[in-house]
Subunit: 282 residues, 2 copies
């Protein structure tokens, strides 16, 4: 994917610097800032796909310096290598588990409310982990802007809230979900789908598209929209619905216009979402 | 109190700038940092006394810029005024409650373990509030060093832990407790004591001194040291013991050498502490 960027002169030949500890990361960030450079951060969990690269592209268009952080998923050296060849990235911040959870670590960041519903209810403690790790990344990188994907809408809402509540001075930017031709939202989990499951996985975006169409023609009853989402998912024999709701995009409580889905396709849990008041892409 | 400081040229005539919102605070901090100046933060809850001024003095000796923050206690204009006349302070960061707890605020910082024992058990939620506010102050001020008093030893332990765990890149400095001639630790609560209570309040430091003497002459049995603390407090008719323990100064769990006390003198709850392996001052 070609990346436009006005300047990327931090490392010769576009090989990004790899930084592994928060002290070095903060020192680099302060050096860039003292030189008047805006800093963008794209946090990832490795296993990069075109959705992440769209975040990198957005960050490159808005910042002189772009840092990509990698944490959580087991390292994938091939993908790291790919990232190191990616134009426009100035630094890769890749803290180890020992850095992220030092001996005796006891501090947890929790966003009450939005963390507890839907994805938070399905995965107890998940958003507390996300909030704690993201707070650490933002503290070490000190970006002007940090980039998240709309695909993980509830995560983006958690991060927006904590960035504001903790006075972190960072703008949280959320980029549109990148989709395959049949509508499937890109996810590092998609590789786990066999060909039959891969086809069945398109039922999530199909359900969102159907509810969007209904909304566009005047359907506003939350129960009707919810049932429409659920019915389309249930029409797919390989899919098992986890949740299908229409909620407020800030609180993730009804009422609202954000349709949020989670479904199992075999042993793979997929999520997707769309604001029904906006046209469905593609 | 005379304050030595190499340079204090931010505001003419030593009148510190008063800053009320985190965005302005962060911008000032970044300006100072870009000019190569080290920044020290002294967080206070207003109601300043000589203990706070000892923190300011320490900060002035170690940083080109000193920021004092005021938050939590109801404003005391007289004390603010005093602070504004204090040599060496470059800025007063005085966020309003609306800034510190914006509408919809939902993010809480929690330090598991050390927050839950002793003072944490006596005041449920107290250290979560402290941890959340201090994280916000450190995010907005971005100091190189932040200064806390040993008198609030458990608070200092909570802050040290969160600063490290969240990669805040700040050194937490803890200054010795400042005491009256009879040993009473300075506290903004001391003003609530009537003359008889004031005299009785010296029983806390007397208990610590007695246990320190016993430790110096070889007493190591935790139960014996604890009983010694408790007995000295109970010998004072106006004092009611809340807790008297000997704990580890990091975890605030036994075993350890840090003697920690809390006692009610009338309606005023006082705390004090001392590391028994060190000479008692005065």
């Amino acid at each position: 994917m070609p990346i436009r960027k006005k300047r990327s002169r931090t490392t010769p030949g576009n090989r990004p610097e790899v930084i592994e500890d928060p002290g070095t990361m903060l020192a680099s960030s302060r050096r860039w800032r003292a030189a008047g450079k805006a800093i963008g951060l794209v946090p990832t969990m490795g296993a990069l796909h075109a959705g992440h690269l769209s975040l990198v592209e957005l960050a490159c268009g808005e910042n002189a310096i772009v840092v990509v952080s990698i944490f959580v998923n087991p390292r994938d050296p091939e993908h790291d290598e790919e990232l190191r060849g990616q134009a426009g990235i100035d630094a890769i911040y890749r803290p180890s588990a020992a850095v992220m959870y030092p001996p005796g670590a006891a501090t947890r960041v929790r966003v009450v409310g939005v963390s507890e519903t839907l994805e938070g209810a399905a995965r107890p403690g998940h958003f507390e982990g996300v909030a704690t790790v993201v707070t650490k990344l933002l503290a070490a990188v000190q970006p002007d802007r940090a980039y998240f994907g709309q695909k993980d809408a509830q995560q983006a809402a958690v991060v927006r809230r904590l960035a504001r509540d903790l006075d972190l001075g960072v703008e949280i930017r959320v980029a549109p979900t990148v989709r395959e031709a049949d509508g499937l939202a890109l996810s590092s989990r998609n590789v786990y789908l066999d060909p039959g499951q891969r086809k069945a996985a398109a039922s999530l975006s199909a359900a969102l598209r159907r509810a969007t169409d209904a909304y566009a023609t005047g359907e506003r009853r939350p129960e009707a929209l919810r049932e429409m989402l659920r019915a389309r998912l249930e029409a797919e024999p390989l899919a098992r619905v986890d949740h299908a709701e229409v909620v407020d995009p800030v609180t993730f409580q009804p009422p609202g216009t954000l349709a949020v889905l989670a479904a199992w396709i075999g042993k793979t849990r997929l999520i997707d979402n769309h604001d029904l008041s906006q046209p469905f892409p593609g």
